[in-house]
């Protein structure tokens, strides 16, 4: 009976505590709601949003970087191709120039040779002509001198005529 009496007290809600609990709890909900939960939950939410945003921007930055990298590679490949093309072109140009120069030099050389040969021929002809002329003059002079000496006396003139006459006879 003793215990039953106390048990009744245990399960019997006291009006005083109901009253104070209601007041204190409602006040607590109000005060904590305004001065604690609102700023705390707000701050946590702001931070979560910030983290989300940071993550998203990091992701996009990574994507940008990846894009940039692939772009760079593309540009590099293009540059390499261009360089190869340039080198090839340059080599071709070089070959062409060398070939052209070679042909031109050959041609010049040929022309120079031809003109030299021509000149040599001309010079030779001129020399031959002059030689002929000088030989002719010398021959005439010699012939004159010989004639003079041959015709310096009467006997000699007679001998010449005889000689000549002999030739004529032969003819």
């Amino acid at each position: 009976m003793n215990n039953l009496f106390i048990l009744a007290g245990l399960t019997d809600p006291g009006i005083g505590l109901i009253f104070w609990t209601s007041i204190v709890f409602l006040l607590l909900v109000g005060i904590l709601g305004k001065y604690a939960w609102k700023p705390i939950l707000g701050a946590i939410k702001t931070r979560e949003e910030g983290i989300e945003k940071a993550l998203a921007s990091a992701e996009s930055a990574l994507n940008d970087m990846r894009e940039l990298k692939s772009n760079n590679e593309k540009i590099l490949a293009e540059a390499r191709n261009e360089r190869d093309a340039l080198i090839k072109e340059a080599r071709e140009a070089k070959d062409a120039i060398i070939n052209e120069a070679k042909t031109k030099a050959q041609k010049d050389a040929d022309r120079i040779m031809a003109s030299a040969r021509e000149q040599i021929v001309n010079e030779k002809n001129a020399a031959v002509t002059e030689l002929k002329n000088q030989v002719a003059t010398l021959s005439i002079e010699i012939a004159e001198k010989i004639l003079r000496s041959e015709l310096s006396s009467d006997e000699k003139q007679k001998a010449l005529v005889n000689n000549l006459m002999k030739d004529v006879n032969l003819n």
């Binding site: 009976m1 106390i6 007290g9 505590l17 609990t21 904590l32 939960w37 946590i44």
Partner: protein, 406 residues
């Protein structure tokens, strides 16, 4: 790893067996108690406080009374000592009598809870009997109590004195006020920390301890059970969670009050849960109650059941918290009481060992019950505000859960 688990299991089972033995033993002792002539005496006539101390040393200690005294509310905050040597903190007594409101300090009763000391305030006379305050009778009865006790033919005693409405700041009310103050100071300082350090720095100190709890209540309890509308109820649920948690934990300290194990406190909290459920209930919620998805012939049974269900849910909430916390305290006091029952120091290592074990378990229960109360409150609000689509998802989730349990 496997051997570790098996030893652990063995240890727990041994503990359980010893525990069960102890309990059967203590119940046997209690059952034999009323045979003793000294305890067979009526409760209400427990005589003077002075005679109490001069008790027969062979008389068994009434552990049950001590246990209930410890978990019940009190008009003064008892710190240590017994009866007239007790040291306690006086608390304000506020009474609503026919002549208006009377206030005085509980020290006016001089630690008396047997109705033997009259406190005379403004011409009105009061006595404190078992922490209920009555208007005192003009003359004391044969036990020196200023009470008029009548016995009916069955031997049950009733007090015929008028008990004024008691709005005292009792021990529980004081702890409630203190814990509310602690919560306000704690969480406003945490809120300030967010304001001061901004949201980009990592939380520090109590902020970093409390933030996971706050986020847990918000995400798992509020949003998990109420859905998108959970944000609106998060502050309420946080308040419920932390007021229960702090008082559960404070209740474990020996001289503190047993607020969450008091039915008045749990009653108020569950009434608020009921009100929130009823006033936030949407068309869908009331539809489930008044037009159940069943043949119309069954409605005559189902509708009353559904209506009763609206009240039984918060009622169970009230009983669960109150009973869990009170039971834990009773077990601890009973275990310590074993030493006094056996009147032997040899029992103390076992009693203390088990009391320690239960105390550690109580720490878990303190957190668990705060969680369960908040979870169920969120669940009830969730069922009241759920849309039809969400409700469908809920049903499937419940089924999945049920399947897992099988």
């Amino acid at each position: 790893m496997a051997s570790k688990i098996s030893t652990h299991k063995r240890f727990t089972s041994i503990c359980f067996v010893i525990f069960a033995l102890f309990f059967s033993l203590s119940f046997n002792l209690k059952a034999s108690e009323p045979v003793e002539p000294s305890t067979n005496e009526a409760v209400l006539s427990q005589g003077h406080a002075t005679s109490h101390t001069e008790e027969d040393p062979n008389k068994p200690v009434d552990i049950a009374s001590i246990a209930f005294e410890h978990i019940l509310d009190s008009h003064s905050w008892h710190l240590f000592g017994d009866h007239e040597h007790a040291v306690s903190m006086p608390l304000p007594v506020i009474l609503k009598t026919d002549n208006g409101i009377v206030t005085f300090m509980s020290s006016a009763f001089h630690h008396d809870t047997h109705g033997t000391h009259v406190a005379e305030i403004n011409g009105q006379r009061f006595v404190n009997f078992k922490e209920t305050i009555y208007l005192a009778s003009d003359f004391p009865n044969e036990h020196g109590q200023y009470l008029n006790i009548q016995k009916d033919e069955k031997g049950e005693e009733t007090i015929t004195n008028v008990a004024p409405l008691d709005f005292s700041i009792t021990k529980n009310a004081t702890q409630l006020l203190l814990s509310a103050l602690v919560l306000i100071l704690l969480f406003t300082s945490v809120a300030k920390a967010y304001k001061k350090t901004g949201v980009t720095t990592a939380p520090k100190g109590k902020q970093s301890f409390l933030e996971p709890l706050i986020v847990f209540v918000r995400d798992d309890l509020a949003k998990g059970n109420i859905g998108a509308k959970g944000e609106k109820f998060t502050p309420y649920l946080l308040t419920v969670f932390f007021i229960i948690l702090i008082n559960n934990v404070l209740g474990l300290i020996p001289i503190s009050a047993n607020l969450t194990g008091n039915i008045a406190f749990t009653l108020v909290l569950s009434v608020f849960t009921l009100l929130l459920t009823v006033f936030n209930g949407n068309k869908n919620y009331w539809g489930h109650i008044f037009t159940p998805h069943a043949p119309k012939a069954l409605w005559i049974i189902l509708i009353p059941i559904e209506i009763i269900g609206v009240f039984t849910k918060p009622f169970a909430l009230m009983i669960r918290l109150f009973a869990n916390i009170s039971a834990g305290h009773i077990i601890i006091i009973s275990l310590v009481g074993l030493i006094f029952m056996f009147k032997s120091l040899l029992i103390s290592p076992i009693a203390v060992g088990f009391a320690l074990f239960i105390d550690v378990l109580e720490v878990l229960v303190a957190v668990l019950q705060a969680y369960i109360f908040t979870l169920l409150t969120a669940l009830f609000i969730g069922s009241a505000v759920a849309d039809h689509n969400e409700d469908g998802q809920h049903d499937s989730a419940d089924e999945k859960l049920a399947g897992e349990h099988h």
